[in-house]
């Protein structure tokens, strides 16, 4: 892994204009996708099901032929290179462990394919099983493993041949919440320790944000936004991204100076926002409850207890519903009348084009 330090600046994976179409008609599963992944980087592709994320991985692995565009690994064009010569790893969504082999047989599979010595295989298997927290599981039957254990074996199997790029398809999709949160932390630590380059896809934003150095949001086979988890979370580029992240307070607005005119009245916008029509995201955190006469009058339509706070759904007298967050102690009851005011801090101007 250290040998690659001098090539860090270069893209390990580069997709150029990759397009995949299923069937003659209809929209493409991947629509002219450009994506670079630098060595040692962890990139997470985030998107709803059907957005083309899995197809993306299959194209890189060579399991799916691209109709147009290029896949470059370490600068070399991969068209015509069959899957087994690409030197990438792929962890399948449902693991796809070989049922007729035991744990060691699964983990050592990739090593056997590269004709490692028996001793090497045994050592690597033992090391990896230690690493994923299943020491001594070599002889266990795959069928006897729990979901979480299968997950770890699948990971060890994908890591064993030291792929130059490790791809994960919904890596934690089928696990229960507690295990998931623990594994995300473990995985991130592990990948950084090993210096593994990772391309993962998921529909779970929590997973993506916790795991990734960089997040790529996909919509209908196109890349909607790329950035660090913080960037994407703080400044969703489009209405689609904002809504996918769970923000529903998006309205038509016209910016004039330091405020925007919206169906909810005037909403302050961050300094330096250009004048003109746009879509505006108002985060629930920027919605402040006030006494009725001081703000926009609303009726509480619903309240949901979220553990750390209470989510409120408010119906103003005019305009669409507003989502707000407040502490449990201050939360009004359903049907109660409240006033709301907006703070500029958590207001985001979205791409006018979207």
């Amino acid at each position: 892994m250290t040998a690659r330090a001098d090539t860090t600046a270069q893209e390990l994976l580069r997709l150029g204009g990759v397009t995949v179409r299923f069937g003659a008609s209809g929209r493409p599963a991947l629509d002219v996708v450009d994506l670079d992944v630098t060595a040692h980087e962890i990139v997470c592709v985030l998107g709803p099901s059907g957005s083309g994320k899995s197809t993306l991985l299959r194209v890189v692995a060579g399991l799916q032929q691209a109709d147009a565009g290029q896949v470059l690994l370490e600068g070399r064009d991969q068209s015509g290179v069959p899957t087994h010569r690409r030197g990438v790893g792929l962890m399948f969504q449902d693991h796809q462990l070989f049922p007729q082999r035991d744990v060691a047989g699964n983990v050592a599979f990739g090593l056997r394919m590269r004709r490692s010595s028996r001793a090497d295989q045994e050592r690597t298997v033992a090391e990896l099983l230690d690493l994923v927290g299943l020491p001594g599981a070599q002889r266990r039957a795959v069928a006897s493993l729990s979901g979480g254990e299968q997950q770890r074996v699948a990971l060890a199997r994908a890591l064993a041949p030291r792929p130059r790029l490790l791809m994960l398809d919904e890596p934690l999709g089928q696990l229960d919440r507690g295990l998931r949160e623990r594994l995300v932390v473990e995985l991130r630590r592990l990948f950084h320790e090993l210096g593994t380059t990772v391309l993962a896809v998921t529909h779970d934003q929590g997973e993506a944000f916790a795991l990734a150095d960089r997040v790529v949001v996909m919509q209908d086979g196109k890349i909607a936004q790329t950035g660090t988890p913080l960037e994407v979370w703080q400044r969703p580029a489009t209405e689609f991204v904002a809504r996918f992240l769970g923000f529903d307070n998006v309205v038509e607005a016209t910016v004039q100076g330091d405020a925007a005119v919206t169906p909810w009245g005037k909403v302050p916008v961050p300094y330096g926002t250009l004048d003109g029509p746009c879509r505006l995201l108002v985060r629930p955190a920027s919605v402040r409850l006030t006494p009725v006469p001081e703000g926009l009058p609303c009726t509480v339509a619903a309240r949901t207890f979220r553990g750390t706070h209470v989510a409120l759904l408010l119906q103003p007298t005019g305009g669409p519903q507003v989502e707000a967050a407040c502490a449990l102690r201050d939360a009004p009851e359903v049907g109660q009348r409240v006033g709301i005011a907006f703070a500029a801090r958590d207001v985001v101007v979205l791409d006018a084009a979207a």
Binding site: F22, G23, R58, A61, G62, L63, Q64, Q65, P82, T83, H84, R85, G87, V88, G89, L90, F92, D94, Q96, F98, P99, Q100, R101, D102, G105, F109, G110, R112, M113, R114, R139, A141, V142, A143, R157, A158, P161
Partner: protein, 550 residues
């Protein structure tokens, strides 16, 4: 793909085309008018009609009787199951001539039923139908039962929990999953009975005759090659039609199945109904399959001076069998074993490659479902592989003789001629047994192996092969068995000093005298024992489970 194609082109298409051409060509001109002449013959029409309806009736009857048996073998655990499974397969590998004789001894004039109750069936079509059931019981039990045992019973349980009754759950969940296997079994039975030769020849007498019998009569008795060629073509087209129909019905139903270890799904029967089913099946097997075999064994020991091994001792010397044999009849045993082993290897290689080639495009196709040209071609190939089952073995054997006798393909004196012809019949079994299981392997497992660095060949070896090992063994058993029992083609091409068991039996049966008849029965008994032994060995070999791979 290239190997199976070349194999079929050279050893199947070429001989058959050559012999048909010889029959239908006159001075370089095709004489297609002969079709009309032959088809307007009322005798031929009668033969055609009988061939079709007796095949349909035999298939229906076999399914009716054997499907409960398939269930019993798949789901129940009982003492002696292994042995019984092998016993059930024995009739299938017996030479048709012997099966005919055994039934004649059972239901014919002076037969067991005649002696006991004065019942005779040899003048009715029932003898033929029962002999066909006797023959093909194993086909249904093996093909359907093999898959049935590997179906996850929890699928049915899921349906029960959702409110389906016991029968509804079976009909809605298990039956559709079994569909392809049932269709495959039914197709095989239909083909076998459609082209039935030995059984009909002996039990049918002058009244009942199938196409294959008619082809043999025209070729061997009347040397009327043109009529034989026309009949061969008719049989060929009919078989092609059946195969196409089958491919069409199977294609819309084959799906990825959840397969589990068959040993885990079988349990001791519980409750009166299940015990009754088990005993009923055992009774059917006893009456229909074991009694004829016992009669056969009894005949082989019933010497002129009471019971004894007289006939067996006579087998050891060439002299005792007068001038029929240049060698001792017992040598036929070693010939058969060697030919059978070689034919099995050829059939497994050719059939295995073909089955692998037939499943590969699914891997290449991916979820998009494109490449229609390739898949259409592959489907055609699928049907082609089944053809040897339906084309007259007599024609193939005779075709071998007239085509493979000139350089560079002068195989007439080659030892390999017989195994090649026998493998031709074995390949369809290998393909048919392996294809459903191969197609049921989850494609993503193959992808997982490919991503881990396995080449396509390695993927097949590492993923498909371990999963189909059991199917492969069953296929090997079938291929070996049909090679041992193959008669129609072998009788034409086996050299006089190297007869196989069935050929020796037929020669002995063809000669008058109690000694010859007794020796035939003795040789048949030996053949039966060899087949039962081979099948029992296969039954014992189990797939190595989870931990044993390396």
């Amino acid at each position: 793909m290239a190997v199976p194609l070349a194999f079929f082109a050279l050893f199947f298409a070429y001989p058959v085309v050559a012999i048909v051409g010889r029959g239908l060509k006159d001075g370089g001109q095709w004489q297609l008018g002969r079709f009309g002449a032959v088809l307007s013959d009322p005798d031929v029409v009668h033969v055609l009609w009988f061939t079709v309806w007796q095949a349909a009736a035999s298939t229906g009857l076999t399914l009716l009787i054997a499907l409960p048996g398939a269930y019993v073998f798949a789901r129940f655990d009982f003492p002696g199951k292994q042995l019984l499974r092998a016993v059930v397969a024995v009739p299938f590998v017996l030479p048709t001539v012997v099966v005919g004789s055994a039934f004649l001894a059972l239901v014919g004039r002076g037969g067991l039923l005649d002696d006991l109750w004065g019942v005779r069936l040899d003048t009715s079509v029932w003898a033929i139908l029962l002999a066909h059931v006797f023959f093909n019981y194993a086909v249904v039990v093996r093909t359907v039962g093999g898959l049935w045992g590997q179906l996850d019973p929890r699928q049915e349980e899921a349906a029960r929990v959702l409110g389906a009754g016991r029968f509804a759950a079976w009909r809605r969940v298990t039956l559709p999953a079994l569909g392809p296997a049932v269709a495959a079994a039914a197709l095989m039975v239909f083909l076998f009975t459609f082209t039935s030769f030995g059984v009909v020849q002996i039990l049918g007498g002058p009244t009942f005759s199938t196409l294959e019998v008619e082809i043999y009569r025209q070729t061997a008795d009347f040397l009327d090659l043109p009529t034989a060629a026309v009949l061969t073509m008719i049989q060929f087209v009919a078989v092609l039609g059946v195969l196409a129909l089958h491919a069409w019905t199977v294609r819309r139903r084959e799906s990825a199945l959840r397969l589990v270890n068959a040993a885990q799904t079988a349990r001791r029967p519980r409750g009166g109904g299940q015990w009754a089913l088990l005993w009923g099946t055992l009774a059917v097997i006893t009456v229909l399959l074991i009694v004829p075999l016992v009669v056969l064994v009894e005949r082989s020991f019933a010497g002129p001076d009471g019971y004894g091994a007289v006939f067996y001792e006579a087998l050891r010397s060439a002299a005792a069998a007068d001038s029929t044999f240049a060698v001792a009849p017992l040598d036929a045993l070693w010939n058969s074993l060697a030919y059978g082993a070689a034919a099995t290897v050829i059939a497994l290689v050719v059939g295995g490659l073909a089955a692998a080639a037939l499943t590969l495009p699914q891997l290449r196709r991916g979820p998009s479902g494109r490449t229609p040209v390739i898949s259409r071609f592959v489907r055609g190939f699928d049907v082609l592989l089944m053809l040897p089952l339906g084309v007259s073995a007599v024609t193939v054997g005779f075709g071998f003789l007239i085509t493979l006798d000139k350089p560079p393909l002068d195989l007439r004196s080659s030892w390999w001629l017989v195994p090649l012809a026998q493998a031709l019949v074995g390949v369809p079994f290998v393909v048919r047994t392996m294809l459903p299981v191969l197609r049921a392997v989850d494609g993503r497992l193959r992808e997982a192996a490919a991503v881990l660095g396995a080449s396509p060949w390695r993927v097949w070896r590492e993923v498909d092969l371990p999963m189909v090992r059991r199917a492969l063994l069953i296929a090997a058993g079938f291929a070996f068995a049909v090679s041992l029992g193959e008669f129609g083609a072998t009788v034409f091409i086996a050299r006089p000093d190297r007869p196989t068991l069935p050929v020796a039996v037929a020669r002995l049966l063809g000669r008058a005298g109690e000694l010859n008849y007794g020796q035939a029965m003795a040789l048949s008994t030996i053949l039966m024992v060899v087949c039962a032994g081979a099948l029992l060995v296969l039954e014992r070999i189990r797939p190595i489970d989870q931990s044993g791979e390396f």
